[in-house]
Amino acid sequence: MNLDLSPEEQAFREEVRTWLEENKPKESQPEDGPAMREYDLAWQRKQYAGGWAGIAWPKEYGGRGLSTSEQLIWYEESAKAGAPLAGSCFVGLNHGGPTLIANASEAQKTFHLPKILKGEVIWCQGFSEPGAGSDLAGLSTRAEIDGDELVVTGSKIWTSYGHIADYQELLVRTDPTSKKHAGITWVICDMRFPGITIRPVPFVDRVHHFNQVFYDEVRIPISNVVGEINGGWKTAMSTLSFERGTAFTERQVSLAKAVDNLIDRAKTRTSPDGKLTFGDAEIGRRLTRLRAETAALRAMTYVAVARNVRRNAPGPDGSMLKILVARLGKELNQIALELIGSDVVLMNDISDGYLRSFASTVGGGTDEIQHNIVAQRVLGLPRQQ
């Protein structure tokens, strides 16, 4: 066991640090819309030009072909430098891309992967439906096979950045007679295909982030199917596992930075009666626990990486990381909110962050579903009733 960087890793870290310092965007990331699209794609293009895109992706599709530890170093340095998160590029880089690498045909990989890395396209996700949330396998968006096309009719929801995306990873039901997990197909949908309409679904703070997407006999070439027809569940599960893998590193480092900032703020802040909030035993205890658990989260990330290197595929570690990162993020936002006292009645960065933090135990698989996964896959408990 060691935490030492090899000379190569050390050199890599130095190089990343210098590059980020010189190249990270000066302007802050727009919240939504075409401005966000332009900003995120420009940042991705810059990273690609600098040789920093797809660090752990295969070389033949434009990646660097390096190991998970270099990827981890990049995420850590990026978060430390305060460089922007992937934003609207997240799905392409962390879901769509990895799924294509694992499951797609050569033609699909050659066409799509370089576009994602070069910052030419935005991807979105079409998994959840109004009637299929946690019970994802209950999805009913129908795809009829007509010659060499799928004809898709139905609706998807919680589609982040769907209104500014080029492509969608879409799950459809190709066999309505088969049981739930069977009969689902994973297909690449071009968001400009005729028959697609998009309705914005405002987030709690009214930012336009979510969408509902409607499909009215949208014709998608069968050549866009990734994996087997009716084999989409298997393809989709590799995506979700990636989401629960090392993709949390940036959030974990940002969280650790935010916790240290919060402790500094708490040390100097006084409540309306003039007492130091830091002297408040409850706040002190909560900050202590938050800092200790944030340190544990970092260690967990390293352990998960060490295990992934050995078994070559993500295990249930990602669900445990997700449970902890979401719990700590919510606690951070709650403490921050308590420290601003009556400013809670105003919409500001702190109150907005607090409102947004609730989504962290829902998006990407609810906290309850993650607990089911841990119970079954870590502890070997039987399936839930």
Binding site: M1, N2, L3, D4, L5, S6, E9, S69, K80, V253, A256, K257, D260, I263, G284, R285, L287, T288, R289, R291, A292, E293, A295, A296, L297, R298, A299, M300, Y302, V303, V305, A306, R307, V309, R310, D317, M320, I323, L324, E368, Q370, H371, N372, V374, A375, V378, L379, G380, L381, P382, R383, Q384, Q385
Partner: protein, 328 residues
């Protein structure tokens, strides 16, 4: 960078786990009579070299690091080994750093052993695992002190929270009779780390015990594990154990390397594992229903030990965690 045990370390874990499952299975506890670890049992642990694992060979140890010590003590925690095992490991370090090689020899060979002395709420001292203890480790936020039994005055045997251990109270302590004293940060870090190891093993054993019970206890025609009210408590234990074990390993590397992160990570490891162990044991008592309220089942032993280990060190962990320099 690799936070995974080496093959040698995996072998040490396996040999400790095999030995303890055979010689010190946790389910011995409800039937145990008396409060002194049997002579033969104690000698067996000493013969495995576990009381001098992290001491240099010159100092009479096996010359391994604090990482191996932590990995073995985690197994001790799983098997409800008495707190005197942790005390004896720390005592040998205190004696070694004071150059008391005869005391090191007596402790690592199994001839003598140590218990813990804790400052009591009435100004005196609580002595724990005192039956047959030749020395006591008095670990406060300022220092680690090793003192012989005769340094304590007015010793009266009382009942311990955990009936498998002997407790005593002492009215006075003569610091002048101490064998060794270590005011250094390294002692505090090692002591926090190794206590975290006992707590991590404790939490992990509680997790496994609870999952096993949930799989086999049938109600309403199903194992109770199919109900989320039960399985999600178990899943929380799994997440807490994962966090405790991960930070234990991270902190162990930091302490071995003398890294600037050692202060934050060793204190956080004890804090996180302490919460994990207490919460797991409390939930385990609930999952075990009526049986969880009896002396015959194991959850209460893990709960009592969790409180014991959490109370060691003078309660300074929180202040250390908040004051430690940022490592970002």
């Amino acid at each position: 960078m690799d936070l995974y045990p080496t093959n040698d370390q995996l072998e040490i874990i396996t040999s400790a786990s095999d030995y303890l499952s055979r010689e010190l299975p946790a389910d011995r506890m409800p039937k145990q009579q008396g409060t002194t670890p049997p002579r033969g049992q104690w000698q067996g642990l000493a013969d495995m070299g576990w009381f001098g694992l992290g001491l240099s060979e010159d100092a009479g140890g096996l010359g391994l690091s604090v990482i191996e010590e932590a990995l073995v003590l985690r197994e001790f925690g799983r098997h409800l080994a008495p707190p005197s095992t942790l005390a004896t490991v720390l005592a040998a370090h205190l004696a070694a750093s004071a150059g008391k090689s005869d005391v090191v020899e007596a402790l690592t060979s199994g001839a003598q052993r140590a218990g813990f002395a804790l400052p009591a709420s009435n100004g005196g001292y609580n002595l724990l695992d005192s039956d047959g203890a030749d020395f006591f480790v008095l670990w406060t936020e300022d220092a680690g002190v090793l003192a012989p039994r005769e340094a304590f005055a007015g010793v009266t045997v009382v009942r311990a929270l955990d009936d498998s251990l002997q407790a005593a109270t002492a009215t006075g302590f003569d610091a002048g009779k101490a064998t060794a004293r270590d005011d250094g940060a390294t002692f505090q870090q090692r002591a926090r780390l190794l206590t975290a190891a006992m707590l991590t093993g404790n939490a992990e054993a509680t997790r496994d015990l609870s999952a096993e019970y949930a799989k086999t206890r049938i109600q309403f025609g199903h194992p109770i594990a199919v109900f989320q009210a039960i399985s999600h408590k178990c899943a929380d234990m799994a997440v807490d154990c994962e966090a405790s074990a991960a930070i234990l390993q991270y902190a162990a590397v930091c302490v071995r390397d003398g890294s600037p992160e050692a202060e934050l990570y060793a204190a956080s490891a004890k804090y996180v594992a302490g919460n994990a162990a207490r919460n797991a044991a409390a939930n385990s008592m609930q999952i075990h229903g009526g049986y969880g309220q009896t002396y015959e089942y194991l959850p209460h032993f893990f709960l009592k030990r969790a409180h014991i280990y959490q109370s060691l060190g003078g309660g300074a962990d929180g202040a250390v965690i908040l004051a430690a320099a940022s490592t970002l």
